[in-house]
């Protein structure tokens, strides 16, 4: 699903954000990526999303060589992924319904399919009653669920979540990850970046720890400490 082969990323200011990272994530996996801030987690995400290209090495996502993508191919590549951000990134002047429908409109889905699919996805994340609300009228947790619905609506085989719980109350954080968990059970690969160790420890999933641009630990909670 995702394959990093000796990937390094050096920024123009000389910062070595990733240093020879090799990582393999299989289809259907749920992986937490942890590490302190500045460790290189964000860079990892940016590379997967093709916001940036690696300085050296090769990245494959969904069997596609991301670094070699042409500019006009990028939008089509991104449609195969669902992305969730820490700051939700909802369009403020669009209703919940329109925010989710937007992801479908972008990909040329017919109005008929949009009308069928959006309510279904909204009910899946438990927001069927909020379709007409605007983003600023609902709570942070609800906004993140809208973002999740938007990521899901295209039926992607991979969901990337960048600190999805960073801006919401701890008690609601569990709900979000649980939702991701449910999605994962249906076969969708999930990669979630976080620095909340408490949250990670509540789920039995693979954990990849990154420090100073390198993978320093990789395994489940049980084997996590053993490998360190």
């Amino acid at each position: 699903m995702i394959k990093f082969t000796h990937v390094s990323k050096k920024y123009d200011n000389g910062t070595m954000a990733l240093n020879d990272v090799s990582l393999h994530i299989d289809k259907g996996e749920f992986v937490f990526i942890v590490g302190s801030s500045g460790a290189g987690k964000s860079t990892l995400m940016r590379l997967i999303l093709r916001e940036d290209v690696p300085t050296s090495g090769k990245i494959e996502v969904n069997g596609c060589n991301v670094g070699a993508l042409k500019r006009r191919e990028i939008p089509y590549f991104r449609r195969s992924l669902g992305v969730v951000f820490q700051d939700f990134r909802l369009i403020p002047n669009m209703s919940v319904y329109d925010n989710v429908a937007f992801a479908l409109r972008v990909t040329n889905v017919s109005n008929k399919d949009i009308r069928r699919r959006v309510p279904y996805i909204l009910s899946l994340v438990g927001l069927q009653g909020k379709a007409r609300s605007m983003p600023d009228q609902i709570s942070g947790g609800e906004q993140q669920r809208v973002a999740l619905a938007r990521a899901l609506v295209n039926n992607p085989s991979l969901i990337i979540a960048d600190e999805p719980t960073g801006n919401i109350d701890p008690e609601l954080s569990y709900e979000i990850v649980d939702l991701l968990n449910e999605i994962n059970k249906c076969g969708t690969t999930i990669v979630m970046v976080t620095h909340e160790h408490d949250l990670v420890s509540q789920f039995d999933h693979r954990i990849v720890q990154i420090e100073h641009g390198q993978v320093v630990a990789d395994g489940r909670i049980g084997g996590h400490h053993a490998r360190k």
Binding site: E51, P75, R78, R79, R89, I91, F102
Partner: protein, 301 residues
């Protein structure tokens, strides 16, 4: 792209104007102000030109013929004068007509000159009008060289003044319009930049959901187009109303020669169509092109 998507993008562009109404209002305001400035300076230049043109058309050149010119020669000179490109309105004034006009102009004293009827000292003459005063020297030289022409009296100084005035107005007017266009372009470019900058987040979201560049750009272009069109229409309406009001005020409140000048001001209706055409073209062009140009910057995510 399917039809429903295209329709959606058009609607989206129109909706964005309302959704970002404060910024839309600012853009429309700036665009209107610029169009008004440029429009007024165009109107001003046109009017000064028209007034100078009126003064120009009032010129008169008198050609005195040599004594004893036979009617054959007079006819010949008439034909030659008609043939000159730069001459309008050739009128022959015979000795007798000339004398009568002269004596008439003496009012009460006219009786003193009765004796002249028997011994007319005035020559035969032609009165002509010059079309283009800047060419007056050549035309006079041409007339002077004709056989049977004694002398030519022409308003050379007036011609020079009018010609240089016309030149000054044209250069000054064009320079002013050009300057205003440049200033307007800079202001408008900045306004559009701010508008797009305000929505860079929206653009980046679109990119992450997998929108193609065309898909992101189209609503902005529609928006720019509509804003330009609205501004052009409002600016045109304001200019029309303002100018018509000014004209009627001037007609009611002026006296003397100035009234005549007002009568020769440009009628708005005569220039309405080309003016609206250029307003619409400028507004729409700036709006559309501006959005295209500045959105591009934020597409590189």
């Amino acid at each position: 792209m399917r039809g429903s998507s295209f329709g959606y993008l058009l609607r989206e562009g129109a909706r964005n104007i309302y959704a970002n109404r404060l910024m839309s209002l600012a853009s429309i305001g700036v665009l209107i102000a610029c169009l008004l400035l440029v429009g007024s300076s165009i109107l001003f230049t046109l009017n000064v030109n028209s007034l100078v043109g009126y003064v120009e058309s009032q010129n008169e050149v008198v050609i005195f013929l040599a004594d004893g010119a036979e009617s054959d020669l007079i006819d010949d000179i008439d034909r030659q004068l008609q043939a000159i490109e730069n001459i309008d309105d050739v009128v022959f004034i015979s000795k007798e007509q000339g004398l009568e006009e002269w004596i008439d102009s003496m009012d009460n004293a006219s009786g003193l000159f009765d004796g002249l009827y028997s011994d007319n000292i005035l020559p035969n003459s032609f009165r002509v009008k010059i079309k283009d005063l800047s060419q007056i020297d050549q035309t006079i030289a041409q007339i002077d060289s004709m056989n049977g022409v004694d002398s030519v009296s022409a308003p050379i100084e007036v011609a020079q003044t009018v010609t240089s005035l016309k030149q000054a107005v044209n250069t000054g007017g064009s320079a002013m319009v050009l300057l205003l266009v440049i200033v307007a372009a800079v202001i408008i470019a900045n306004t559009i930049k701010i508008t797009v900058f305000n929505r860079r987040k929206e653009i980046s979201i679109m990119k992450f959901v997998g929108a193609t560049d065309t898909f992101i750009r189209l609503p902005f272009i529609v928006e720019g187009f509509l804003l330009g069109l609205i501004s052009a229409m409002v600016a045109f309406g304001l200019l029309w109303g303002g100018y018509t009001a000014l004209l009627s005020w001037l007609t009611d409140n002026t006296a003397g020669w100035f009234t005549m000048a007002v009568e020769h001001m440009v009628v708005f209706k005569d220039i309405a169509l080309p003016l609206f055409g250029s307003f619409a073209a400028a507004g729409i062009g700036i709006g559309t092109l501006g959005s295209m140009l500045f959105v591009r910057k934020y597409l590189k995510v």
